[in-house]
């Protein structure tokens, strides 16, 4: 497990944090996350792979019956693992701290 690809590395990337955040808000698959997080597809999909490889995210196949009801192929749904939730909490604290810092410097951005 290399630091480059995350793992237990505390410095979860900003985009990684955003994807985790989107997952925690209930967005469950790539296309949805892309739209919710306003991230390009070329970022979201590789990120999901890396997060999964480092154990912060787990995936499962949607039930075939559910997919059939909606008339489409089954999707692969992602969710944060407990480690992912912890990492997200840490990242959120970091982001909050940074936001607080930026807020002091530039009050205008807080509106």
């Amino acid at each position: 497990m290399t630091s480059k690809h995350g793992g237990t590395d505390p410095s979860l990337s900003y985009n990684g944090a955003v994807v985790l955040q989107a997952l925690s808000q209930g967005h469950r698959y790539g296309f949805e996350i892309m739209r919710a997080a306003h991230l390009p597809s070329g970022t979201v999909y590789p990120l999901l792979r890396r997060l999964e490889a480092s154990g912060l995210v787990a995936s499962r196949w949607e039930g075939a019956a559910d997919a059939r009801r909606e008339g489409r192929p089954p999707r692969r749904y992602y969710e944060a693992t407990p480690e992912g939730v912890t990492a997200l909490a840490e990242a959120r604290e970091r982001v909050m701290a940074q936001q607080a810092l930026f807020g002091h410097l530039s009050p205008a951005s807080e509106g």
Partner: protein
């Protein structure tokens, strides 16, 4: 189409392309994951978003590789991709079975033929001989240009004794001589094939004894008791596999021989057909201290010393041969060695065993190679047409971002898949064909019997298929793929590009040219064969039986006793109902070599004639009985043949000569009454010529066309075998009893003949019952075999060329339907259309015929060695081949032409 579906399709195409960057093991899952991502969007805006999202598949694929620790573009990865392409190609072929079956069958024909022929080549030519250190074995023999340009003599015992002592370039040297022997067994007299060998042959041939021991140097001296080895087959067949056989005694040619061992199976004498393998091996027992003669009757093989080459051996032997007159003055005169240019040659054993068979097989392999080429051009044509139909698909793939490598790899995969399928079928074909070939092959071909599909042949077949597959892919690769298969181009369907048209034309031309070359070759061989078959062997073979018999020396001593036994046999045989005439001779025409024995002449002016003409006084010398010329159908041209009275009184010393003999030695004179001395005897008493008979064909030595040369023969009376003094070891001499019958099945006489012989002497074995028609047919069997194979190859080539031409013309017609319809609409008659189509085809065929003729002329020298009575540039063969090919081509193009003439103008114009 709903706009949302268009976006969905585009997105799927992108994912599909991206999936090709994912290792195969993960590809299916990758595709499924992305399928789930792509939902059917109804509006254009989200449709675009979907398309953009799908672009993420490429980044995703890259991430997947890095996460799994895989580097992109490794060899393994590439192969996996390739395997997938093959799978796609197979699916595509399944969808067009017509194309697939035609292409695979065509390739299989070409490749199968190559595999079968290569198996033969591999077994016969490429594999080493089954002896230890085969590359160091040579055959020693003597060239005697003074006697004749092709005169090759075997080795003498004097040479053996001298060279084994003196030659440093030879590690070991062996002599052998095949002979027959009579063996008394519980089941009566038996004839065995035996061979007398020097002890050194054991080691040279790598012989092993499965029971007992081999012949040792101690056995191989005149003083040693007579011992013998028997073959496994003889042990089993004649002696019932008796385990206590070693130490027992067998009466062989009236002498007791102690059996010392049984030879292991699979031991072959170089150049002997497997079914003629020796049944008994006895030591030659050459007396090193005795007197030596100039008796060149022993074939020899030798193992060269380490580092020696045939050239260095010959170099050393030249010096040693020069010393022969000093060492053996009684056997070799200085005048003989120098005057006749006598020299000893060392030929690699394999070369000597194979003779010209190697080149014959290579010629056949070349013929099959041409068929393969034609098959490949045919399939290339099919492939081209198929690719043409798929240009839109290729163009679309290109437009969707498949790069050249991907497309190229795909096209190559298709070509290779096709070729490898062909190779698989070909190997199956060859597996069946090789044993069939060995059955067809004449028994005299060395090493052919028992050949089967070889592993090397399979490897070669697949290599050829690999090359063929790449060649198939080459054209589409360089046109469609390199140009990136522009979408624009794919819409031009009516005006098929000139380049492709030209290529197809070129393929047809080359097919016709190659096929013509094969048909010319086959035609020349068939012409030779018929010339050979109708060649006058100088005999009337119909209804003539021949059987060999051997008199025991102990039971028939002296000339008069031998003759009285023979006369008795002949008279009893002539009395059998159905026998028209009967006679005896030492050797049979056509199958016998006759040899060349020096003759002496009473009239000294004959020597002046010889001096003037060059050459020597040697001729084929045969011992013959009364009735022989009559039974064999050899015409008496002048004087008369032998009568019983001539032989009853040996002092009458009569002799009969052949026409060629008379013409050479007494040109312009009657030979009747002339005196001749056998074996070069010039002292007398002479034999006086009583008759001249027609020439007969004799067996020929290597490299000569069979039946091509009449024998210059002199026939001595059988009661007094003039060779006897030379052939002490040869007694009892073999004679062939020749019986002419007017029955429809002459072989039904055999039991009566056997009975007649047994009444004279129950211990005479009869062997080699044959009929002369079979003997004559056998003489041309090798040529018949080669002709048959080449005719099959030529027939296949012709068929393939016809199919190729038909395919191309059909295709052209289908592409020109509209144009033809238009012509007919403005008044062209069906006949005009037919002429136009056939004419177009004929211009290609004409060009092919011209090129094929040039190719045939260039390659005619290759087959020249096989031809008899036909020039390699025989205009008849070329004209016949060109005519045949044109006829086939007209037929092949006439079928699509007729279809073109039936085009309904209205339909055709509506179609586009």
């Amino acid at each position: 189409m709903h706009p949302g579906r268009i976006f969905l399709r585009g997105a799927r195409a992108l994912v599909w392309l991206a999936a090709h960057r994912v290792p195969l093991s993960r590809r299916d899952r990758f595709m499924r994951e992305w399928e789930g991502e792509l939902t059917n969007e109804s509006d254009v805006e989200s449709g675009w978003r979907l398309l953009v999202a799908a672009l993420g598949a490429f980044a995703d694929a890259r991430a997947l590789r890095t996460v799994n620790g895989m580097k992109g573009g490794t060899m393994g990865d590439w192969i996996q991709e390739f395997v997938n392409d093959v799978r796609v190609a197979l699916r595509g072929m399944k969808r067009s079975p017509g194309f697939t079956v035609t292409a695979v069958a065509t390739l299989a024909l070409g490749l199968g033929g190559s595999a079968a022929l290569y198996s033969l080549l591999d077994r016969v030519v490429i594999q080493p001989l089954p002896y230890p250190q085969p590359e160091r074995l040579v055959r020693l023999s003597n060239q005697v240009p003074g006697v004749g340009p092709n005169e090759v003599w075997a080795m003498s015992t004097a040479q053996w004794a001298f060279l084994t002592d003196e030659a440093t370039t030879l590690e070991s040297m062996g002599l052998y001589r095949g002979r027959g022997g009579n063996v008394m067994t519980a089941a009566g007299p038996q004839r065995v094939r035996s061979v007398a060998v020097t002890a050194s042959m054991m080691d040279l041939l790598g012989m092993r004894a499965s029971v007992g021991r081999l012949i040792s140097p101690d056995d191989d001296t005149p003083a040693a008791p007579m011992v013998g080895l028997i073959s496994h087959g003889f042990w089993q067949r004649v002696l019932g596999g008796d385990p206590g056989v070693v130490g027992t005694t067998l009466v062989y040619n009236d002498r007791p021989v102690e059996i010392i061992g049984v030879v292991d199976r699979g031991v072959e004498l170089p150049g002997w057909p497997v079914d003629m393998a020796p049944e008994m091996w006895i030591p030659l027992r050459i007396d090193r201290g005795g007197t030596f003669h100039n008796n060149h009757v022993f074939p020899s093989i030798a193992r060269m010393a380490d580092g020696a080459t045939p050239a260095s051996v010959e170099e050393e032997l030249r010096g040693l041969t020069d010393r022969l007159p000093d060492v053996f003055p009684q056997a070799y005169g200085r005048r003989f060695i120098d005057g006749y240019g006598f020299r000893t040659q060392a030929i690699p054993l394999k070369e000597s065993v194979l003779g010209d068979l190697a080149s014959t097989l290579w010629i056949l392999f070349g013929g099959v190679g041409l068929v393969l080429l034609i098959a490949c051009t045919n399939v290339a044509n099919l492939f081209l047409v198929r690719m043409e139909g798929r240009r839109q698909e290729l163009a679309l793939r290109g437009a969707l971002g498949a790069n050249r490598t991907t497309l190229g790899r795909y096209v190559i995969a298709e070509g290779l898949t096709l070729a490898l399928l062909g190779a698989l079928v070909a190997v199956a074909l060859a597996y069946w064909a090789v044993p069939a070939l060995t059955v067809l092959a004449p028994a005299e071909l060395p090493r052919v019997q028992g050949a089967s599909l070889s592993v090397n042949a399979v490897v070669v077949t697949f290599l050829l298929a690999l090359a063929g597959g790449l060649a198939l892919a080459a054209y589409p690769l360089f046109t469609h793929v390199r140009r990136g298969g522009g979408l624009l181009e794919s819409t031009r369907s009516t005006t098929a590009s000139r380049g492709r048209q030209r290529l197809r034309g070129a393929l047809v031309v080359s097919q016709v040219a190659l096929a013509l070359t094969l048909v010319v070759g086959a035609g020349l061989l068939v012409q030779s064969l018929s010339a050979l078959r109708s060649a006058d062997a100088g005999i009337e073979a119909e209804g003539v039986l021949a059987v060999d018999l051997y008199l025991s020396r102990a039971r028939h001593e002296g000339d008069s006793d031998v003759w009285s036994a023979y006369r008795d046999i002949l008279n009893r045989v002539r009395a059998i109902p159905g026998v028209a005439s009967a006679g005896m001779s030492e050797e049979l025409p056509v199958s016998g070599g006759f040899g060349c024995t020096v003759q002496g002449f009473e009239d000294e002016t004959v020597y002046d004639v010889v001096k003037e003409q060059g050459g020597t006084t040697c001729a084929g010398q045969e011992a013959t009985s009364p009735g022989y010329f009559e039974a064999m159908g050899i015409p008496v041209l002048e004087g008369r043949g032998f009568t019983d009275q001539d032989l009853d009184d040996p002092t009458r010393a009569t002799v009969v000569v052949s026409k060629a003999f008379a013409d050479r030695f007494w040109p312009g004179r009657s030979p009747l009454g002339q005196g001749v001395g056998p074996g070069g005897n010039t002292e007398g008493p002479f034999y006086h010529v009583i008759g001249v008979v027609g020439d007969v064909a004799r067996a020929t030595s290597e490299g000569e066309a069979p039946l091509s040369q009449p024998a210059m023969a002199i026939y001595y009376p059988i009661q007094h075998n003039p060779e006897e003094t030379w052939n002490q070891g040869w007694w009892p001499g073999a004679v062939s009893l020749v019986v002419k019958s007017d029955l429809s099945d002459p072989s039904s006489l055999f039991p009566a003949i056997r009975q007649a012989v047994a009444q004279v002497d129950p211990e005479i074995p009869l062997t080699n019952l044959t009929d002369m028609e079979a003997v004559v047919a056998e003489a041309s069997s090798r040529l018949a075999f080669v002709s048959l194979l080449l005719a099959i190859a030529a027939g296949t080539a012709l068929l393939l060329a016809a199919v190729g031409l038909y395919g191309v013309i059909s295709y052209v017609v289908s592409r020109r339907t509209r144009e033809i319809g238009m012509r007919m609409a403005v008044g062209a008659q069906p006949g005009d259309v037919q002429r136009m189509v056939v004419g177009g085809a004929m211009s290609l065929v004409a060009l092919g015929v011209v090129m094929g003729t040039l190719l045939s002329l260039a390659s005619s020298r290759i087959v020249a060695g096989l031809l008899v009575g036909v020039e390699p540039t025989s205009p008849a063969a070329y004209a016949a081949a060109a005519g045949l090919l044109t006829l086939v081509a007209v037929t092949a193009s006439w079928i699509p032409a007729r279809r073109a003439a039936r085009i309904d103008p209205l339909e055709a114009l509506r179609a586009e």
